[in-house]
Symmetry: C2
Subunit: 477 residues, 2 copies
């Protein structure tokens, strides 16, 4: 099936599921309204048939598609559907849904259900779920694992979030460097099934130390009689578990990688990082950047309770409230000036607003350049110089236009001149804070996007009012 | 090398390159200052040695790393370095740099240099560069191609930007369904080298119609005597060239794909989409979303000329200017009211500011949900209902706090009540525009992120002033 077809089909399936779900809710409502004893046999049959049909549909969906359907459903419908998913399949689906939705689903599952859902997962997958599982359930899961799995799980979980170690898996094929390609081919045939995304085999020596990689393509096209050692690449990219996932993602993008071995400081092979995890990581990072720029603490389930949403959003709104009051006190300090010339009250939001927007443009470019690692000691000065020149140009341009309009509106040349001067100064301030807020956040080891727009607007508002009303109080009244 | 090592090394190399570059600039300056005839032989030798060393360093860098170095260099240094890159390598590097930097590099190359840089590129790579090449140069390139390449190039270029067809390549291995795995292995060995990312072979019948895929892993582990037909998967994902790249990217992420065949409506195999192009596409989309939210028209070379930057940024600033004047006129309409009670001028930015921030939070979540395809007819009403409830809660919360603070500051109960009412109403307005601006953009077939923050702030400013000053003029003065 093609992508367009596929999408159309997925939407059709979603519609069908919704229809069946609604039918079922109607039947349930009817059944509830009647006395249990009088329950009509026919209705009960329709009900059962409905559920069977719905379950059948769900069984045929890919886990990722089912995750998508669950994410788009309002809370109640989501839980009704979740109850119909086979216990064994729930583990894979929990891995695919967003953190917020995962929480909502796990909250409805009891101990036994969680055990059933997770017992077939790989250790790295289990590690992904671990933070969200009830601790008693998680301990029981760990206790039931064999030694190797337990060691792997502890290894993955020992690395902090955002590290390569926390994303790696253990599904790789390792071979010795002193065997013939022929023998490798026989070995693979005996294995029967290779881990997904196996584009290369990892070569180790007798002591288990990582030596290099043998691309599967090389295995296919190489001389059967030749040794692995003579076919392997020794200069391939590898990661340490403590490397940042962001840096690893950049390497995947730059060098077009599919899988990369993860080795420790003594060069022992620990695991594998593969492109699917990297893509998920990139998408997740982008989402969090976009959301944190807008002042949200984390991703939010579209149908989260109002209370949960409030928790997610209040922190930056409080900061905003404080900064807004500061801006308000700045204006308050000039109340005498405004009283004498009330045109000032009407014009001051223009100075603040355009400063905010031009500053946000600068900040967005700096945040992006920081994410791409494009800013360093060598070019920072040039970069700041450029933003200052640009802001002077902007200042002259927008300052003259707004100054002229202010003159037209209020027939006052001095007012127009003050307007022009204030615009120029505030746009300069905006450029500086647009550069230094993200840079400062970055220096402090924080996400440069975090609330940058709230902080920036706060500065350009307060400074805009201060500059404009200050100039006005000196030159106009 | 590990990722951390790799990055450290890349930075070291960047520093060394910068040092050599600076030395060379000093030498050049000296040489210029002296009379050409008196030019000191030693200096000239140092100069040459410098260049040789620098060129050597550049030759050893991966094209993607060299692209990164070029992107971080200010304009002049970038061009000096570019001159030192071997003509043959320039094509690969042009493919890796951002659009803005690519333009700056191509502008400095003449007809011959561009031909030398591009003659070894694959047709799909050439298609990527085509829009930026001078048309005379491009025609000459096309004329020199053989028939098949020309047809491929025309095919890729006939699909609009953002479609699967515009991203596909032609590096795939296709095999017939009626041969034995053994024969396929022999065929691959004869080919010698497989296209990068070959995780599967594409199976076609005698007429060249696409039948299914044979995973390389299956080839390695399957029975040598069995037929391709009995080993291939027929239900694999495929794309049409006219499918949206965004949708294809979602499929890659959902189903963890590496390569996917592209087929036409008659099921003829046209090309291949591979994960590296998808990753580039995803990163590009993220960047453009983030930048367009801030009101930038496109990605910007960090060291673009001030003039070019102005062109990129002015459009949304003009819109902002217009909306700021509208907001200003709203305030202007209430000048009489403000004159009587100048506390209003100090308090009105609070109403506008908090509305803007809470609206931006809502908009960010909606933009993200639209990007993930999570919004549909079925859940839209619930979603709007939730945001309205939340905004009422926010309104009561922040409205009471700000109302109480306004009362404390100005010792006026009516002023506090008006403040509370205005906050509640404007936060409600903010939630509605936060939902409907992105949705409206999406309905119009536009990028929902585009300038959303500018439009949203414009509405919450104007409405905030109108509501607050309007209530004040009715109840206070």
């Amino acid at each position: 099936m093609t992508a367009a077809n596929h999408n159309a089909r997925l939407h059709e399936q979603l519609q069908e599921i919704l229809k069946l779900l609604n039918k079922q809710k109607v039947v349930e409502a009817l059944v509830h309204r009647q006395d249990m004893q009088k329950r009509n046999l026919v209705e009960s049959l329709v009900h059962k048939q409905n559920i069977v049909e719905l379950k059948l549909k769900l069984d045929l969906l890919h886990p990722a598609d089912l995750a998508y359907v669950l994410e788009t459903l309002p809370f109640d419908d989501r839980l009704i559907l979740w109850e119909m998913v086979k216990p064994k399949r729930r583990g894979e689906i929990l891995l695919e849904v967003s953190d917020a939705v995962r929480e909502s689903l796990l909250a409805e599952m009891d101990h036994k259900e969680i055990l059933a859902a997770t017992e077939d997962l790989d250790t790295d997958e289990l590690a992904d779920l671990a933070p969200d599982l009830p601790s008693a359930t998680f301990s029981e899961l760990v206790d039931s694992m064999d030694g190797e799995d337990k060691a792997q799980l502890q290894s993955v979980m020992s690395y902090p979030e955002g590290s390569v170690g926390s994303l790696m898996n253990f599904e790789y094929v390792s071979i010795r460097d002193d065997v013939k390609l022929e023998a490798v081919l026989r070995y693979l045939r005996r294995l029967g099934d290779l881990p997904s995304h196996t584009d290369k085999l990892f070569v180790v020596d007798r002591k288990g130390l990582f030596k290099g990689i043998l691309p599967v393509n090389r295995l296919l096209t190489g001389e059967a009689e030749s040794l692995v050692r003579d076919n392997m690449a020794t200069d391939a990219v590898s990661f340490r578990p403590e490397d940042l996932a962001d840096e690893a993602a950049k390497a995947f993008e730059r060098y077009d990688l599919i899988t990369v071995p993860v080795v420790d400081s003594r060069n022992r092979l620990l695991g594998r990082l593969s492109v699917d995890e990297v893509i998920h990581h990139i998408s997740g990072e982008f989402d969090s950047d976009m959301l944190s720029m807008a002042g949200l603490r984390q991703e939010e389930d579209l149908f989260a309770s109002v209370w949960k949403s409030l928790q997610n959003r209040w922190a930056w709104l409080v900061i905003n409230l404080v900064t807004a009051f500061i801006a308000s006190r700045v204006v308050g300090a000039f109340e005498g000036t405004i009283e004498k010339l009330d045109a000032l009250a009407a014009l001051m939001p223009i100075v603040a607003g355009i400063g905010g927007n031009s500053g946000n443009q600068t900040a967005a470019l700096i945040i992006r350049a920081l994410a791409l690692g494009q800013i360093n000691g060598g070019n920072l000065r040039k970069l700041i110089a450029k933003e200052i020149y640009l802001s002077l140009l902007h200042g002259v341009l927008w300052g003259s236009i707004t100054g002229f309009l202010a003159f037209l509106l209020y027939k006052s040349v001095p007012l127009g001149v003050v307007m022009t001067g204030a615009m120029m100064l505030n746009i300069l301030v905006a450029a500086l804070v647009g550069v230094f807020i993200p840079l400062g956040m970055h220096k402090l080891g924080r996400d440069p996007a975090m609330g940058s727009s709230v902080l920036l607007t706060a500065t350009t508002d307060s400074m805009g009012f201060f500059i404009f009303l200050g100039l006005a109080s000196i030159y106009l009244v």
